[in-house]
Amino acid sequence: MTNNAAAAIRFVLDGQVVTVTDAKPTTTLLDYLREQGRCGTKEGCAEGDCGACTVVLGELNGEHIDYRAVNSCIRFLPTVAGKALVTVESLQAADGTLHPVQQAMVDCHASQCGFCTPGFVMSLFALYLRNAAPTRETVVEALAGNLCRCTGYRPIIDAGCKASQYAEPSHWSRVAAQAPALITALRAVQNDEAAALPGFQAPRSIEALATAYAATPNALLLAGGTDIGLWVTKQLRALPPIIYLGDIAELKTISDDTEALTIGAAASLTDAWAALIAHYPSLAEVAQRFASPPVRNSGTLGGNVANGSPIGDSMPPLLALNAEVLLRHAASTRRLPLHAFYLGYQQKDLAPGEFVAGIRIPHAAIDTKFACYKLSKRIDQDISAVCAAFALRIVDGIIVDAKLAFGGMAAVPARAVQAEAALIGQAWTEAAFTRAAAALAADFQPLSDLRASSAYRLRAAGNLLQRFYLEHSDAAPGLPLPVLRTHAVAVP
């Protein structure tokens, strides 16, 4: 293993090791590529919402390389160190042969203006590598982070379904993507020591992180950068020195024991949601609607929780499930119920130099009725007007416990204490839920903004309680389940 930590960023691109010595910590991967004349990757929004900048990153995982699509527009270049980078220019073979995803796009007439096309190609390429027989639904999910304004998507979806039916390419086949030479090259750019650029450090252990952050509590902790990236691209902010969490393997650990599921703060949202869904299958829909695959591949659950946005979608289910945050400061650790972590708008119970190291989700009792709902203008990749998660226990027809948590209703993600009180001790009846819905007005005075009015938020939040009752009620057979999500719709 080569040791070349110093002030260089090294990654593998098209089989070659690229060394960058003069990067600013906040140079985005997109800007870097374009400045190098590699202009196939496009800027459509600079906020991770359109996907025109999509590239694929390969990360060494034992003897295997994991490839995932990410948004290069909000990804800082130093975070690519040690990885394999694949851009739209990488895919065409030297003899000019197009990659199957590219050929399928051409054959299906899937590009019009072509500006979004490189991003679609890369999202489909990432899907191609991990799924040899994608369904229409898989393709649609893989494309949730890519906007096209020309085609109406039908031919792109067709191309995604069709690409895997083409002959195996010589270049960037699933086998070639795991070529020993590539793994060797990738291993050569792994550094034992933390990268140390001016204004950027990437510790390799929680210990080192805790020490560094305690020593410089004004530093900025950077994980996936799916929010912090926008501070640079949108707000033009100058950032304080950065401590990057993405190279700490133990902070990405997801562990499961008899009592709880524990998710390390730097685990990606993709991995975190998968672990949560394994325990709570009803989270599949919100997980799929949380941002987009590229954002979930970069972003972390710890980042979403630590950010504490009132409209973050992970907190309502975590609150309803009694999650705790694991906090670390220097050598000491503490556990705090998540609801106690949020003190006010953008205020957390965090001491200087203290950080979120993980999230612990105690296993819910087996008889818990649990659901999570998201309301937004668009089904995929939208920010919630209201996000709600409900966990109830019913014993002998009586509601013995109720946790009702909401996003979009207050300055912080919060439980609806009055509405919970209206349910606890009551019989499982629609009337109880109607009273709980009415009590929401005592819990919340939501804002009116571009996403929804205060009145809508309050009324729809109450109606979600009704939806929960109807969905879980045996007393109303034949009632339709919500058919509003394509993947859940029983198409007649």
Binding site: C39, G114, F115, C148, A452, Y456, N463, R467
Partner: protein, 772 residues
Amino acid sequence: MSGAEATLPDTAGVGASQAHESAALHVTGRAAYTDDIPLPASTLHAAFGISTIAHGRVLALDLTPVLAMPGVVAVATAADIPGENNYGGIVKDDPIFAEGLVQYAGQPLFAVAATSFEAARKAALAAKIEYAPLPAILDIRAALAADSDVIPRQHLVHGTPDAALAAAPRQLSGTVTIGGQDQFYLEGQIAAALPQDDGALLIYSSTQHPTEVQHVVAHALALHSHAVTVQCRRMGGGFGGKESQPALIAAAAAVLARKTGRPVKLRLERDADMLITGKRHDFLADYTVGFDDDGGIRALKVMLASRCGYSADLSGPVNDRAICHLDNAYFLEHVEVVSRRLKTHTVSNTAFRGFGGPQGMMVIEQIVEDIARTLGRDALEIRRRNFYGIAQRNQTHYGQIVEDNVLHILADQLEASSGYRQRRAEITAWNAANPIIKRGLALTPVKFGISFNATFFNQAGALLHIYNDGSVLVNHGGTEMGQGLHTKIAQIVATELGLPASHIRVSATDTAKVPNTSATAASSGSDLNGKAAQAAAHTLRQRLVDYACETYQVTADAIKIENGIVQIGKHMIPFADFARQAYLARVSLSATGFYRTPKIHWDRTTLSGRPFFYFAYGAAVSEVAIDTLTGETQLLAVDILHDVGTSLNPAIDLGQIEGAFLQGAGWLTTEELYWNARGELKTHAPSTYKIPTARDWPARATVRLLEHAPNPEDTIYRSKAVGEPPLMLAISVFHAIRDAVAACGPAGALPDLPAPATPEAVLNAIDAIRLT
């Protein structure tokens, strides 16, 4: 699902589903857009400094702090414009840089040039600006109350509407509320201005209208048009948003290039783009309709108001087109329209696919639906009852005779192929049995007039070269924004010259090659430029034939050029060899072509004439489900039948239809523009402004072209324009949602649903109809 996926052989010309000429470049990332063009190392990057208030006097504009920022080389304000400080194409009321008065939040006051894009953006925020705020008019109702017109109102009276209304057995009044829409082309506005050695300028611009960019830049810099050359190889989408707006971007870049003597690139990042540039007009219509017991419309009176924003821009023609599409597919014998073009202190609204047509159609489609609901009849029946007739009942309210009516054919075919009747029955049964999830269905037609209303725009030119190796270069006045225009032009030239498409190359649109062009707009691209290219090809083909006749002593009927082979009697000569022979014989192998649309005329003062060469038609059936607890909606299925005449390229035409349909569906459902009480647009990026995603394309979709329907008019190969008309097929989505809302209330109750039908709007409409 409509396929048309077979890639036909290279020899295929017109009518083949040839892939987009840049498809391979698109998928490999090699297609170069304006921001990808390598520029000299001395190039500066520019950014606008913009107003932060909606309306007010500028008391002080201190740019000293801007100049002091790192990397800054120059700033430009109105004082730096040697010529005309205006980019308004019709009315000169659009300053490049506001001077003394700002009229919307986002209006450019100055631009700064710096050594990097980041430095320019940071510096632009450093200006010290003092305002004296003035009262701001922000929406249509406020502008109506204040009688705030940006251009004079128009009044159309056809027949005797007052008498007919009074005599009508029934009357209905209502309001139609229609939101705006951002174009959201994926490539933002951008231009680069490169000073040339003789004081001239070369401009790279992402524009649908290179000639207007040329003129505005020339006027701003007090140059002649010949000193400004504008080039555009391709745009990353336009949709009307790059018709008048690019002139602002290019002019600001040009002023800075002139001032610094260095190349200047001005690229708007997404937020700047959405804050600064115009959008689709939002509209409001108050109507009274008189009808009979069978649902036949007897008279219609409409006050049609649009929010134009602070300046005229293209609002005159947009509103004229709205008036001309108030009928959509229906015969209106007695009509009065008062058209208000309102001034507000918001961004100046501009062209967007459909150009007022969609808003006009939304009005009549709601009226037809509400007549049906009032009478307890299926809306399709009422639509048919009011369709234009073939030999009678065929004059529009602006005087044009509808000569090419295929509405009845479309409706009959689509009703059958979509299973409309059966699905209507199923949905009625579903709604009776299901209290929470309701479904809705609607079939809506489209009749869209093709031609620019202003007659003089309906002209085009092309320039065609045959090089002495037999390769062909074609240039024309149209621009490529993804719609496949260059592909179609290459197919036309290939067919005319008998060559494989690979022999033809279409080069970047360039004002130095084809002058005085019209915008690539109004769906006219292939109609106009295709005919011009065809004319140029005819000319060259004739020269080659004449040369062959003379050289080989044959008559013209002995000469065939096919698939790259020139057959002269028994001689078979490869086209390349033949071109070389012709060159050596000193035959001119370069020609221009010109076209002007026949038959059309339009009187703007009386709002009458024959503005349209022909009409394009279509129809769609949409089925939706709505959740009555939350107001969420889902498009479950769509069936489309659309008329493109004889298709030049079925794959490209299907792409236009599908893309326009979903873009229209976005307009009417998720795409909400939200201004706060201070007049600040808060939806200015994809995080807040929601265009459709892949999930929004319904799994059940059938999209077909109307078969055996050549254009009766002499258009290019009897094809029809396809850019805009299919957008309006999406009106079926809105009315399917409205239908589902109606299922929540008592029979005959009329849903009060504004567009876009966001979850909140739908839930409010459900609440309201349950109270009726």
